[in-house]
Amino acid sequence: MLYTILIVLVLLFLSTIKNLKGSSVWDYLLGINLISTKIIIIIVLFATEMQLDYIIDFAIIYALTGFIGTIFVATFLLNHDKSNQKEEET
């Protein structure tokens, strides 16, 4: 089970190196989203390794906050230009 954690960790770094080098802001957002889902998998694998029940609750909370965080950042990226344009128009 430990080897799977190592493999997933390597996958995490591999998949986000290209994204974080990306051009637009949304590449970074995609990289962060990838990191958060990989970390959920690592937490779950760790919990089964140690056979501890309460760690899965951490994974649930981390999943919720991680996803909601990227959702808000994405909507912010969309609207923050428009708010400036409205001030210019009026």
Binding site: L30, T37, I40, V44, I71, L77
Partner: protein, 113 residues
């Protein structure tokens, strides 16, 4: 017997994730990348959590795993959709028309970009 099936499922999930990461390096465009990466996440999470459920047998522990699976399956694709939408509206929609209006126009025109 059940554990062996679990380990096989987890192994299959890992193989799919490795292939998916290779896919990320192959595609350069943003929209292809987001397609592949969201596939990796959902496939990885489904297979690994189902495999772990088989490994742990059916008790409270695997019930929590299934709850986590349900939450992630609900939020994961939603999150990548929102990222792709904000990327699409941010880059392409704003140049021509205003973001929201461009979607309405696009629905009428139905042209494939």
């Amino acid at each position: 017997m059940l554990e062996i099936i679990g380990y096989i499922i987890v192994a299959i999930g890992l193989i799919f994730m490795i292939i998916g990461v290779v896919g990320i390096y192959k595609f350069n465009g943003f929209y292809e990348k987001i397609l592949v990466s969201s596939k990796i996440d959902t496939v990885g999470i489904i297979t690994i959590i189902l495999g772990l459920v088989f490994i742990n047998g059916f008790n409270m522990f695997s019930l929590r795993l299934l709850l986590l699976l349900a939450i992630v399956l609900l939020l994961g694709p939603l999150c990548t959709h929102i990222i792709a939408r904000s990327a699409f509206l941010g880059e392409k929609g704003e140049k021509g028309e205003k973001g929201e209006k461009s979607i309405k126009k696009r629905r009428k025109v139905r042209k494939v970009e």
